[in-house]
Symmetry: C2
Subunit: 515 residues, 2 copies
């Protein structure tokens, strides 16, 4: 067998089942090998932002890596922004980046670039495979690197001749997985003491701390100590809704964030970093906690957060502490004009059991998170790295990971435009994704930020740079042109009907909510 | 004035007139400064591939840099592929990349990344400005770096506080420009001797050697010596058509390229590198010239290619040598079904005077270049770095640089999908761009490449990865949804009518040619 086939068989041996791909000439042997070997689902995307964003969404739901297939430096470059988001979500991903044949590189053909240098800023592990014989073991090392807790980005660069040359040793066996870093018992004691102090305290949790089981432990801790349960503004995945312990997210607007945290005396970090402002603003602090607040790192992202919460719970003697979960409480169906709040209420009225919500609704969808805390249980996936354009791709990948669940993608119109090509992949794969476009015809968040950063008295030229209404984008037309059913809602009655119908339909659909 | 305003005034003082932008929070002060200071045209794009690709097209036609405005590392990342293309075209571009405030970086907020590391692989010059007082001189240095012959990519990273802090010294004066590297007289003599030897010889020219005046000198040299005039497969800009000296481009398919060059004994490089295959193929050479061919570098890209050709012409005593130019010879209007060849003939029948053709038609449009050599004079812009997706953005930038000329963008359907967001910018700016989509519903080039790389007997999974027909993309729907008039042609009569109408219409339009 050739290197490409040894690589594909190694992926299979490691449980990699999906490859999101936008291949080119240098990847043809890998594509041919995927054809010869049964077992890996190939998902074609029309631009690389969809490839990496889908791999992110897949990893968040499957908790294991998909492979991506990218075409040399520029193909990787196009996928980097969503790798940035994936990395901030600690999503494991294995990138396979095609490269010129090893002997061809010195000629500096037009597509030549320094792929390793390009990969490094958003990868935790980078290697160029140099011999077909070593490709399988390189792939095993890459997968092991991606699975280092809590999840990493590994980039394996695959020269064309390494793929097409003979690999007599065949595929490689899986490497032993890297364990979580051990728990720090003194950190547990310090956190327990802080929570027992009677002072105003909170847990700030992210990563796997936001899974339902771990939240239940946090719920006991909160009930026993009066600590608040907080999460950062953006998180990879939160299991939430009725029957689960809720967390409050730190708001994005810096003034609201400062206000939420202003009385805190102790903050216990569970997988999270000490909270900072998303951006700097003149005369506002970067650090969001008040000066006197003591910060205690219970566990970092590489530690087992469930184990850490269990140890803290037990140190507090709270193993049987009763705790509150969110009740199931649906909203009545809202009527009247379309607003962000009304959409949030409609979702709370109509959300199916066990849905996956991908939230890139930015300004207009801010009330959805709060409103849906009493909706049926669901997962909440967010833009973690601030690199706009993750929503549609992430929804695509989540739907591939969880074919039996409904995926609902809440998208701002500005954000949706970055990787709208993902809609085509949703249509091609027949995925049950409902995209809601919050269409305010603006980069509304920037209008607010213009004032926040102190750039006041904006003139027409500046405001025009934040307007998307000239021309207005026809979202239904875009979706249909890419094979996705679509309808426009200009009143909540339309929206409710369209959303309810979409939950019953097979395949993707898009609802343009005109705000 | 603050740093941002000093920066804008410095851009103006250096003749920078256009800023292609996709801004975010950290760039708000720059946007506000663009508003306060008259003279820079702000062109909004909905994704960064359009920003950098438009700057490339602008630079090719204006021969000076536009500024780009990009939002931190991920914004830059999304624009890198077209910076790769721009760099291969030697297009001068000044990137302004927003960054967190200098004091905010240590907090590793979600959007933080190593922007310098990311910029370097596709930039010739990178600097992070660290003080508002120095921002204007940093900008002057950046523009000077971009203008180093033949044209470079300069990336200036702009922390938010550097933009918003006081810059008491105001804007900076232009730096003296870098001259071309001096001509190598011995290289001129060697090239002249080679061309006089009576052996089979060719000039391989790119960059400014392909402007009409320089081609005329090359024409005299060819007429005096019998040398052939060649250009690489892809070039930034060729002035060509009736009344100009034509060049033959080395074909992309490696077998055709080898065949074209197989008898050469001397090859004189004028701004070009020795020709190599675009990709490596098993058992085919990387180097395209035959073993015995002597290669003479008359001048490299940093030298004045016009001066080099003039010196060579004079060394050959050919200053008054009569030479042939292409005649004006239009095709009759083709009828019948739509094919790539028929479209080429239709363009040759209908092309207006002084058009700009942006060619990213890949497989189906290969006959256009040859067919149009006798069309009215026009410029020919190509995908220079092989990073697919440059066409629509480049056409956008070329139209901004040359508002009085018609821009015709020949686009493969697969390639057009990468940066289709550019259509919206064309509509917003009312640009006279006609996009022709060669819609074969496939990555047709990959089907050929699959066999070329020796991956034979491709099965259904591999072939499916090269098919774009499930679902079929409705190109007219996409264009109209983004504000661009569109029509579908299924026979040449439709195409001819639509194309002729488009040449008279104001604003952008798209013709979907169904192959």
């Amino acid at each position: 067998m050739n290197g490409a086939e040894a690589l594909v068989r190694t992926l299979l041996a490691h449980g990699v089942e999906v490859c999101f791909a936008n291949p080119g000439t240098s990847e043809m042997h890998f594509v041919a090998a995927l054809d010869r070997v049964e077992g890996i689902r190939c998902v074609l995307a029309l631009a690389e932002g969809t490839v990496t964003g889908a791999a992110d969404g897949y990893a968040r739901m499957a908790a294991k890596p998909a492979a991506t297939l990218l075409h040399l430096g520029p193909g990787l470059a196009n996928g980097l922004a969503n790798l940035h988001n994936a990395r901030r979500a600690a999503s494991p991903i294995l990138n396979i980046v095609g490269e010129h044949a090893t002997y061809h590189r010195i000629h500096d053909a037009p597509l030549t670039s320094d792929i390793e240098a390009l990969a490094r800023p958003f990868s935790d592990w980078v290697r160029t495979s140099t011999h077909a014989r070593e490709l399988a073991s390189d792939a095993a090392a890459a997968i092991a690197a991606a699975m280092v807790p809590p999840g990493r980005i590994a980039t394996l660069i695959l020269p064309a001749d390494v793929a097409w040359s003979d690999a007599p040793d065949g595929p490689a066996e899986p490497l032993p997985p890297t364990s979580h870093a051990p728990l720090d018992e003194s950190a547990v004691r310090a956190a327990a003491a802080a929570l027992r102090s009677g002072k105003r305290a909170a847990l700030l949790m992210t990563g796997s701390a936001l899974r339902a089981d771990n939240l239940a432990m946090a719920g006991r801790i909160a009930a026993a100590t009066g600590a608040r349960l907080l999460a950062p503004t953006a998180n990879g995945r939160i299991e939430r809704g009725a029957g689960r312990v809720g967390v409050e997210r730190i708001p994005y607007p810096v003034d609201l964030a400062l206000d939420l945290l202003k009385d805190l005396e102790h903050l216990v970090l569970v997988g999270a970093k000490a909270p900072v402002a998303f951006f700097a603003y003149p005369e506002k602090p970067s650090v969001l906690t008040p000066a006197g607040c003591e910060i205690h790192a219970l566990a970092g992202p590489g530690q087992d957060l469930g184990l850490a919460l269990e140890a803290l719970r037990d140190a507090l003697g709270a193993a049987r502490q009763p705790f509150a979960v969110e009740p199931l409480q649906r909203c009545p169906l809202p009527e009247g004009p379309i607003t962000g709040d009304a959409i949030a209420r409609a979702l709370c009225a109509l959300l199916p059991e066990n849905a996956i919500i991908v939230d890139e609704s930015i300004t207009e969808g801010r009330s959805c998170f709060g409103m849906l805390k009493t909706a049926p249980p669901h997962d909440w996936l967010q833009l973690t790295g601030g690199a706009i354009g993750d929503g549609l791709p992430m929804a695509t990948g989540a739907a591939i990971a969880c074919p039996d669940r409904r995926v609902i993608c809440l998208e701002a119109d500005g954000s949706a435009m970055y990787n709208l090509q993902a809609l085509w992949t949703q249509a091609r794969e027949g995925l049950n994704v409902t995209t809601v476009i919050f269409n305010n015809r603006a980069y509304a968040t920037l209008r607010k930020e213009l004032a926040n950063v102190g750039a006041r008295n904006a003139g027409p030229k500046a405001l025009e740079m934040m307007s998307l209404d000239q021309p207005a984008i026809d979202w239904c037309g875009l979706a249909r042109s890419l094979g996705v059913a679509a309808c426009r809602a200009t009143a909540m009655a339309d929206f409710n009907r369209a959303f309810a119908a979409s939950m019953m339909a097979s395949g993707p659909s898009l609802i343009e909510a005109v705000l």
